[in-house]
């Protein structure tokens, strides 16, 4: 039973990490990017490639995965967000990020192969550890660290405060002399780095798999919507709830209906409390 809780919590914390990445992007641009899950997928795939393909030390692999994620995050903003936000049509960012996500997924599929490949062990540990295995506690620890780090970043640093200012009112921030375009690129680079880190840390749990991105985009979004858009604590709670629900459901009823259960959770929360558990009502009326 303990194993079920830990494995559910681990996958849930991966979703929570993706939800945090959503939040960072959303704070400055009010855009929910479809590429969010793909950033984590890139972190996992490139981490595995750096370590098994190029035989680099895992520290360099980690740095590489973060760099690839950050690069892709910045690229997302430049290619798919910047031009589109200048137009008034609010649907367009959905289309452009969807297009970019498809391109990345297919490119990785063509280059890396369509089969999931194993992710190397980061720390020497036997496979008999059971629930204490590193593949479970790495994502859990990472998501907690990410949430704390983001909180410190938002409250203690100038750039964090600029992010908050932009999320409150981008026009007012601009009027006060904040270069909103530059802050937005910065937030996308930061979220890309965090996504790459999350994908790297959860690599042993999810394997390095090209089609992971879409699943993570969806489940991370469900964690976010359940917890409340814009709330980091809510993202953690939503992710944990989703992961635990999935783990217990597949423990009791078998694993065939994971997605159905996840969407069921989303629908129940949206019906009862449309702004999510910890969301503020004026963020986005649903």
């Amino acid at each position: 039973m303990f194993t079920v809780v830990v494995s559910g919590l681990a996958i849930g914390m991966l979703y929570a990490a993706v939800a945090l990445v959503y939040n960072v992007m959303f704070s400055t641009s009010k855009v929910l990017s479809v590429t969010t899950g793909h950033i984590a997928m890139l972190g996992g795939v490139f981490g595995a490639w750096f370590m098994t393909g190029l035989h680099l030390h895992w520290v360099i692999g980690l740095a590489g995965a973060i760099a690839v994620g950050a690069l892709f995050g910045g690229l997302t903003e430049l290619l798919a967000i910047r031009r589109v936000l200048n137009r008034s049509d609010e649907h367009l960012w959905l289309l452009s990020t969807l297009a970019l996500a498809t391109m990345v997924q297919q490119a990785v599929g063509l280059w890396w192969g369509t089969e999931p490949r194993p992710f190397p062990r980061l720390i020497d540990q036997t496979f008999s550890a059971g629930a204490l295995d590193q593949k479970f506690w790495l994502p859990i620890a990472l998501a907690a660290l990410m949430a704390i780090g983001l909180e410190v970043f938002y409250r203690r640093t100038l750039f964090g405060k600029l992010f908050l200012a932009m999320s409150e009112d981008a026009f007012a921030a601009r009027a006060r002399g904040v270069s909103t375009d530059r802050i937005r690129v910065l937030s996308y680079v930061l979220s890309g780095a965090l996504g790459g880190l999350a994908g790297f840390a959860a690599g042993q749990l999810t394997f390095a798999y090209f089609a992971l991105g879409l699943t993570l985009t969806l489940n991370g979004f469900i964690a976010l919507a359940v917890g409340g858009l814009g709330s980091n604590v809510g993202a953690l709670i939503g992710g944990a709830a989703l992961g635990l629900l999935n783990a217990f459901a597949s423990h009791w009823f078998g694993g065939s209906y994971q997605q159905t259960i996840a969407v069921g959770l989303l629908m129940v929360v949206l019906l009862l409390k449309p702004e999510g558990l910890l969301g503020s009502k004026n963020v986005r009326p649903v």
Partner: protein, 333 residues
Amino acid sequence: MTANLRTGIALAVALLLVATLPRWAGDQYQLHLAALICVYWILIAGLNLVVGYTGQLSIGHVGLLAIGAYAFAILAGKMGWHPAAALIAAGALGGLCGLALGLPSLRLPGFYFAMATMAFALIVGEIVLAQVGLTGGGVGLPGPVFPAPFDTPHGFYYLVAALAVLTTWLSWNVARRLWGIGLMSIRDNPVAAQAVGVPLFRAKLTVFVFSGITAGIAGATFSSLQSYITPDTFVFELSLFFFVCIIIGGRGSIVGPFLGTVVLTALPELVAPLAKLGNFFYGLLLLVVVLAVPEGIGRMVEVVIERVRPRVVSNEPIEPDLPRLARAIGAPS
């Protein structure tokens, strides 16, 4: 030549082309491709009303296609129904599932709706894999053949072409009347649409159910055309393909998405390197269109035509009828 006459001639030519296509199609493969385009178009014609006119970005219609395909394969194949009855049942089931999906999800704003429909497509895939007894699980099911006049490639082509013409006609009827204008107003400004009395939710739900019915019928013919269906047939990328066809063709038009369907279906089959790139190519195309011509290529063509042959704007000055005006305000003339 009046606009009505021109439309009539264009329609007649298009119908003649569709009817005579088997005569000048080179080989069986091209005929198969034409039938595939028709099947896709049956779905896209319905989806076009949802995506192109109403602006609801549904990226999960492959789920409805799968439901229609499996319903047809199970009813006509396993249970031995008459294929015509099974076809109607598949359409009805598609409509019902569209209703079940639309009721909760159409209340959600843009991104939430897109994610809900995407989740629906994944759920359908999951259920198809899990219900081995009904759907054959990962092994799949054979797609039944239609009876006598429609069992040859030629006959089947005429069947799907007739269905495609029918759905085109239905969606055109919706699009060109007040309904179409109402739908476009929902797309462009929901607040203003509601203010002038467009029933937002009911209109959205109605076209969504219609798109569900067409998706179910497309699924039924699709399973017969493919002759064997597995869960791998209905990958999420297929949904994206439908979506890209409409966006590239241009929103708020029927000819644009139709040309998009024809070109995007035929192009990867005829140009070999594109087939290898597959969905990467669709993604790239979508990105380029969204960034360069968000209104779609169809709109771009219209703009070019207007450049080449500017519309004659007749200058009709309006003279005020001064005596009548004076009478109206009661002034002494």
